[in-house]
Amino acid sequence: MNIWRIAASAALAAAIVPAAALAQTEELKSEEMYQVELADQMRPHWVWVNDVSFTRPLDGRAYLLDADSGQFLGMVSGGYAQGPLQITRDGKRFSMVSTYYSRGTRGERTDVATFYDIKTLDQTGEVVIPPKHFISLPILSTARLSDDDRFLLVYNFTPEQSVSVVDVAAGKLIGETATPGCALVYPVAPRRFFMQCSDSALQAVSISEAGALSLDATTTKLFSDDDPANEKPVRITPAEWLFITRDSEVRIVDGSGAVPKVKAKWSLLDKDTAEWRIGGLQPSAYHARSGRLYTLMHVGDRDTHKDPGTEVWVYDVAAGKRVQRIKLDGPATALAVSEDAEPLLYTVMFGVDELAVYDARDGTKRRGITGLGNSLSVIQPAPVAP
């Protein structure tokens, strides 16, 4: 809870020692307040944690933390059941999609994409969007920036399904395209993404330079109804997403062609670990520099797909092989990994007010940052340009 133990102790070490001498003679000075400003870009070990505030969902928020120092750097307030942020690739700006009612819980609904900069954590603009954005427990793919940060793509559910497009540079809504049967947004190129459909197929979608969406090719059914892919994949290359099923089967989907294709299949499990399963709200993370996949694992059956993990298993994705098991200090429902060359592993447990910070390489716990509220859902590390 103490940002000062680190920040101030260094500054004060020099200051407080002479203070004893000064104290007899010099009064404290009148102070002038100011607002803290941050660096203009997220540093590699800065990390956002979403607090959906499940028991008080009108007051959702996200916290910005410095995992190296343990400092709480600041926060943003969101709307009803606040979802994740969309962070630009340079880590200088971000947006979020929020729902507000004119009378808190009732009245007129307004959905809005709000844009912020990191330096001030202050809003720089907003765009009102169709009042139908998908509201659920936070899932990263409900709204995504296009790869060049030009367009914000927002998945809607009323239960009719559609995607709204915001032109970020122009600060205006471009329009909304129906996507019947298909959900969520998985970018694979600056002008291309795919969606997950209820029949376990994937729908390719392209974005025109003007921001218009076209529904392109659809795959055949890629997953069985009894063992569906989760909706929390990780992106391993610009065009590839790694999906994991209920039974911990891995499927890497390549979206670079006209029709998304399954490029690789393997399992997180083997005969010695058949009773384990992946689980949680954000159950996997990928570290591109090392080609490592991190997964939250627990012992349980197919219906335990939201149960917290007790261990993190680390895989070499190219080889499709597990290379490490990390025993967690406590159970976790979400994990993420910083993108830099000295990666940190972050976990939170829905219901516990702490972000746990581990060394991603040796699995030792570095620190816990507490006092963050009891509904921590998804973790969003700083983007680091590869």
Partner: protein, 172 residues
């Protein structure tokens, strides 16, 4: 018959709710038939309408997450919030569409299709938080997904108060 078909068929047979197969399970139609929730006539004295109790062929504590009907619930039990498994607390509106689960009643050992209608229009009750995920589906298969805010179909808006677990009928 896979479980989506089973659920769909149970829904199709249900006179209480008419949930179009197309939007959720098919890819062609975007139209949705949203049934209004029929209200029971006022049956008690003094215009008071108490929470609807469980049916005689059940046992257990409807305020406990382990109750059989809650096998795929995610949220606050309306039984702890002024409502019951099949009635919404005063001033909250039942969601006309929602996710469904299939749970086994230990008294008759039969599977029933359970509709987890949200009660909406006041903020989270906060009591008796439960999360069980039997046969819960990903959010891109919405009809079985308990992560979605199902208040979206109400007049009140999307603000979620608590969850019910309404018997729609036998699953097979």
């Amino acid at each position: 018959m896979n479980r989506l078909d089973r659920i769909t068929e149970a829904l199709a047979r249900s006179a209480a709710r008419r949930l179009s197969r197309r939007s959720f399970f098919g890819r062609l139609g975007a139209a949705m038939t949203v049934a209004t929730v029929p209200l029971l006539p006022v049956s008690r004295a003094a215009a008071e309408r108490g929470p609807q109790p469980p049916q005689p062929q059940e046992k257990g504590d409807p305020a406990n997450c382990d109750y059989w009907r809650y096998c795929a619930i995610d949220g606050f039990l309306c039984s702890c919030c002024g409502g019951s498994m099949s009635s919404c607390p005063p001033g909250t509106e039942p969601s006309p569409i929602t996710w469904v689960g299939t749970c086994r009643n230990p008294v008759d050992n039969k599977d029933y299709v359970i509709s987890y209608n949200d009660c909406c229009g006041k903020s989270a009750c906060g009591r008796c938080e439960c999360n069980r995920n039997e046969r819960d589906t990903p959010v891109y298969q919405p009809a079985g997904s308990n992560d979605i805010n199902w208040c979206l179909g109400t007049q009140s808006g999307v603000v979620y108060n608590c969850s019910t677990a309404v018997v729609l009928g036998a699953a097979s």
